[in-house]
């Protein structure tokens, strides 16, 4: 039962036909695929402590490329099922930044790291990667810095707001006038949110202008844009930072609404959309693999 449920955690994009990867002789290495992406980024590519191979052998012969917002077990299994052995994702398969170790706290950082690396889940996932000869390339900082703002574009496209950008700011959109409730319902539908959405504001609040910040927000930059908008649509933000700000704003004459859908779901449309522009760069088919909202809520 669990297995069946987990199997439904991943939905595969309908594009393409099964077995297409077999048509390609696996002669291109994972390192060469990345080199092609770097060449296409040109001067916009920067050396990053984050971007790089997070798992697997860069000399792997690539049978197919998969793009996903999260290289979870479910995603890796879906990639394998489609003959893809190079997975490109902004996230790490091993839950945190590799080699980044924070300040030792009450939880004893060193002990946690040691135990995590020995954990059956961690070792089984690594074994799966080895067994299926997968490579995982983390494309994060360079993706975010790309001039075309792929993550914002992803939400704009899926929400039908492509022609509705504020000419003065490419993260602000002017959808047809609506209410907070109607907007939240539309976001929920288009981004595939199950239980991960949180809102601040009154449902009948009129909405004209929306600031879109996928992923995790920078409060210092975002707070300065809030006077220009009614709503912030974002992924992940801390409750002692701008969540408090939004909550407080309802005690003033200039209330602001918040729609937070979680970091992963907010980045998924943009990451999935990269498949189409990575394809000509790498010269191989690139298959998008969706993840579902991990969060759910109790029946009322």
């Amino acid at each position: 039962m669990l297995t069946r449920r987990q199997a439904t955690m991943v939905t595969l994009a309908a594009a393409g036909t099964a077995g297409w990867s077999n048509a390609f002789a696996a002669t291109v290495t994972a390192a060469e695929v990345v080199a092609r992406i770097r060449r296409n980024f040109g001067a916009r590519w920067t050396e990053s402590q984050v971007d790089g191979f997070a798992a697997g052998d860069p000399q792997l012969r690539v049978t197919g490329v998969a793009v996903t917002v999260m290289p979870s077990m479910a995603t890796l299994r879906a990639a394998v099922a489609h003959g893809c052995n190079l997975i490109i994702s902004p996230e790490s398969p091993l839950y945190a930044r590799p080699n980044a170790i924070g300040a030792p706290g009450p939880s004893s950082a060193a002990e946690t790291i040691e135990r995590l690396r020995a954990d059956p889940t961690y070792t089984a996932k690594q074994a799966y990667i080895v067994q299926h000869k997968l490579a995982i390339y983390r494309l994060d900082e360079n993706l975010r810095a790309a001039a075309r703002r792929p993550l914002v574009d992803g939400i704009a496209t899926i929400m039908g707001w492509r022609g509705r950008r504020d000419p003065a700011n490419d993260q602000i959109f002017v959808p047809p006038p609506t209410t907070l409730n109607a907007l939240a319902g539309s976001v929920k539908h288009h981004l595939g949110i199950n239980g991960g959405m949180r809102l601040i504001g009154h449902g009948d609040m009129p909405v004209k202008r929306v600031l879109v910040v996928p992923g995790r927000i920078d409060p210092v930059a975002v707070v300065k844009l809030l006077p220009q908008v009614d709503v912030l649509l974002t992924g992940d933000l801390r409750e002692w930072e701008l969540v408090e700000y939004f909550h407080d704003s309802w005690e003033t004459s200039a209330p602001k609404a918040l729609i937070a859908v979680g970091r992963i779901l907010s980045e998924q449309p943009g990451v999935i959309a990269t498949a189409s522009w990575l394809r000509p760069m790498v010269g191989l088919p690139v298959r998008p693999i969706h993840v579902q909202d991990p969060y759910w809520r109790l029946p009322a």
Binding site: G102, D119, G195, P219, E239, E251, Y295
Partner: protein
Amino acid sequence: MTPREMVERMIAKAAEEGAPAPARAGYRDTFKIGDPDVQITGIATTGMSTFRVLKRAAAEKRNFIIPHEGTWFNDRDDVKGYVDQDPLYLAKKKFCEDHGLVIWRNHDLTHRMHPDQMFVGQLRQLGWTPDAMPLIGRMPTVTLPRPMTLAELARHVVTRCGAHAYRIAGPPDMMVRKVAVGVGYAFPNFQMDPDVDVIVGGEAQEGTDGSLPSYDLTEFAADATALGRPRGLILLGHMGTEDIGMQVVAEWIRDLAPGVPVAYLPAGEPFARPD
């Protein structure tokens, strides 16, 4: 009595009860606004000094507010280059000045107490007895009196803490025997005890940007489940886990201020009721 004297008494009482002194002065437990040397008319403790809490405190003639979290929308309460020109910040600040409010943040001290006052509040709220007393570190575990499914457990905790904007990850029908309890953002993890089935906490790292030991617990739980070891997570929100600890603080400071009215004013969850 003045806010400054009150804070001195709290620190002295904590020391008497065995809370270790901090290695160096921190930036969190400081006065955020107001004159620490005025006479206290009344005290309000709260999880967060939201504008709504400040208005209620002023209406009740409580001029000394003791929140657990920050007032100015960041951990350091540093407004420079952030909100120092912002109309909401200016309005909240002016409200404090107009009503003579004094705010002292009580964060690190609550967590240094033995036991940590935030965990005392949350365990009491959830109606659970931790497996070990005194609490070791900041990660109490609770072996449930009877195993239950994740859905049953979630029903219990959201009912007890009254959270509406909660989030649950993991298979609803997985059996839960042992739970780790987190408060605020300070999370336990699945490595502290391999028998922990579910973590019940406030808010968590999202994505894999974290520096270990902080990591993406939701992803880990999903992968563990996919690999045959079901794990779950119940996120109750920051105030769903730490507001209540400031009720513990209100009780703890009451005898330090004879004749001064002390009340716990819950900040409540900031999010709207879903649906």
